[in-house]
Symmetry: C2
Subunit: 455 residues, 2 copies
Amino acid sequence: MAARAGIVVTGTEVLSGIISDRNGPWLSERLREIGVDAAHIVVVGDRPEDLLAALRFLAGEGVDLIVTSGGLGPTADDLTAEIVARFQGRELELDGPLFDRIAAILRPLMTRWPDLDPKAVLRSNRKQALVPRGATVLEPVGTAPGLVVPPSPEGATGAEGPTVLVLPGPPRELQPMWRAAQETDAFRAAIAGATRFEWRIMRLFGIPESEIAESLLAAERDGLDLAPLEITTCLRRGEIEIATRYEAAAEPFYSRFAAFVRERHGDLLFSEDGSTIDAQVATLLDGPQTRTIATAESCTGGLLAARLTDRAGSSAYVRGGLVVYSNAAKVALAGVSEETLERVGAVSREVAEQLADGAIARLGSDVGVGITGVAGPGGGTPEKPVGLVWVSVALADGRRMTRRLNLPGDRADVRDRTTTVAMHMIRRVLLGQLDDPAEGGGGTPDEPAAGGAVG
Amino acid sequence: MAARAGIVVTGTEVLSGIISDRNGPWLSERLREIGVDAAHIVVVGDRPEDLLAALRFLAGEGVDLIVTSGGLGPTADDLTAEIVARFQGRELELDGPLFDRIAAILRPLMTRWPDLDPKAVLRSNRKQALVPRGATVLEPVGTAPGLVVPPSPEGATGAEGPTVLVLPGPPRELQPMWRAAQETDAFRAAIAGATRFEWRIMRLFGIPESEIAESLLAAERDGLDLAPLEITTCLRRGEIEIATRYEAAAEPFYSRFAAFVRERHGDLLFSEDGSTIDAQVATLLDGPQTRTIATAESCTGGLLAARLTDRAGSSAYVRGGLVVYSNAAKVALAGVSEETLERVGAVSREVAEQLADGAIARLGSDVGVGITGVAGPGGGTPEKPVGLVWVSVALADGRRMTRRLNLPGDRADVRDRTTTVAMHMIRRVLLGQLDDPAEGGGGTPDEPAAGGAVG
């Protein structure tokens, strides 16, 4: 039986929609991985009584664990530690050693900010070193420590109430601290009843989500027993993710299911170990013999280069890129022919291919990617509507893959989805799955809305 | 006194973090505009008892209005209308005319999918035409109608309970229906008594959040009465946002507070009208006489170009950019001198400035931005640690601003924060706030952790 948890996301700026919450969904997924079901995510402002009400509500729902994010900062409206202490009936005490460790973190900051008021810093230092008696401290990643606060007989819901895991708001601090919390006895005790689950992810690219729903039905028609598997599918940045949770004993059922998906979807299944397309492309470029890559982007304006260089160590294989937004830049920087631009226009197969070749020529790379399209909202025509994008991935020897995409969504969607399609095309080309020249460089039907079947 | 509302977002996919919710924040902002405080946003799965528990919780908090999103679809797990009807003590009745209007919407659909099971369609048609007695129907945008369901003496919280506004999940249906709801008497009645609020946002760049907390205390020490103002501060991508809400009568208090912030933080206050740095830079470039811009990026790998081209219409002033990750590319594409690279290394003031000049020269722009740094996690040295970044913003006439940054955080933080600092430097340069040549191109103390005081 899965343990149940509630998540409380604090912060007026989240509640009021000023910033969108990334922690609630992230925590919900992490909980599911360890066999804990999130019953509710409650977003509250910085009003103490609202936070207290949310804690009471979740405790009343009988959850085993409450995870809070945010409200650990230095300012007066950061009250989570204090409220949780009160809710669990535990007094706040100054943790001397913790105070010193936080001071040590703040010191370099203060030298960097000569005109910082030392009193203000001391106040926030002291505030962040106040710990509910009996709570487990999670070492600060930023300046705020996290807390695992068990229930107590003096608590609002007594000794049988939920344990509260208190985490900071910035994802960069919250995520490592979540992992640290797993190691604490207090956390383990809270979810003691939780079944251990296996958690597997398969990723497919190039088919609509409805197709996967169809596959699940087909699997059962074929007599596969999916009952022991908890399967959720979702569409993410144009890729289909099949996440499956099951108890260790159900491993054979999962193996049969995975084999079925492999069999049925073949090439479209690009990841069985949860690895992302970004990781796979990096591995292919950074392989035994490194292959270097360069980009020439128009409508994506540098997003693909940014995505390729997002990974540590990418300097080993990313030569660089050209952002050729204006036609003049396409000609001057990427060597696109003016004649071609006049004849077929900037958004065309020819220009995408010349951009890819230009990237290789100008940056001396083994692989080149050319992108040109209409991201919108303006600039669309009946022949070249918003969402029309040409992507070409070329090798130095002239072999290539070129695709025309018709992407749905707004400007940001079109730009982001284009980088995803490009990443998958790069993977295919690096795996040697190129267009058949006989086919005339790849006959290219329009790509499906999901982001495009590649190859 | 502000009316208070609760928001319930339904859907297992949202709860489990598979898809991220856009409706909660959107509704929260719309509510705030009409002077209604969102007390809580609760995300629940498709379990009826969880939805019911969320409604009870919010009603117990004494909210005047509950807005639900989702759960109005045709499938069995879409139960919102039924649960809300039960909660409000109102029976579901088939609305004949509504049934016919929905049927009219479904007809073309059925012709488009001939193999659609007519019985299934009839079922969902009927299901979506069931209306709680006494509720106000909001015409379907998709196939599902919205509902405004007032409390009743038979309801879980009696005649004094909250009104429930039931909206569909898809934002493109929810958003127009929200506007339609404003026009209904039932909705108006629910939030009668809502105070109209003013809402102002100030943005500062280059100071830590603790400094703002300090300023608020200082303001009160100076005898400013902040009591009539509801002030929240938050740190976003290295900028501080001060959001203040107040009743119209408190305008003079806000004026004094704004003047105090202006006085105390001067140049660091870059926005008093809520405009973002991206919008300000776009306005400055796209002004009466357009000024064009180009970039030459190393460690940010195209992120700045992508950020500049993120806005519709940016093709009017963005010439393009160079992503010069390798030294060879810095020389070949941006015209950085090999001698300089050997003498001072790639991460240096000189190279940043040559990159900015190279961007102008190669792309023929009025403004050039050069970025070079150590994004990490590898590549750091004692002299050039991870987080050290040089940014130079130059004009075609050779005037420029160059800064050295020491940025905290991981690779993604360093890269993102660098683009924010660069945007602020671009703004300064476009406003003519350049380095004093006498100063030797701008004496540059290390930049503070928050992202750097610029200028």
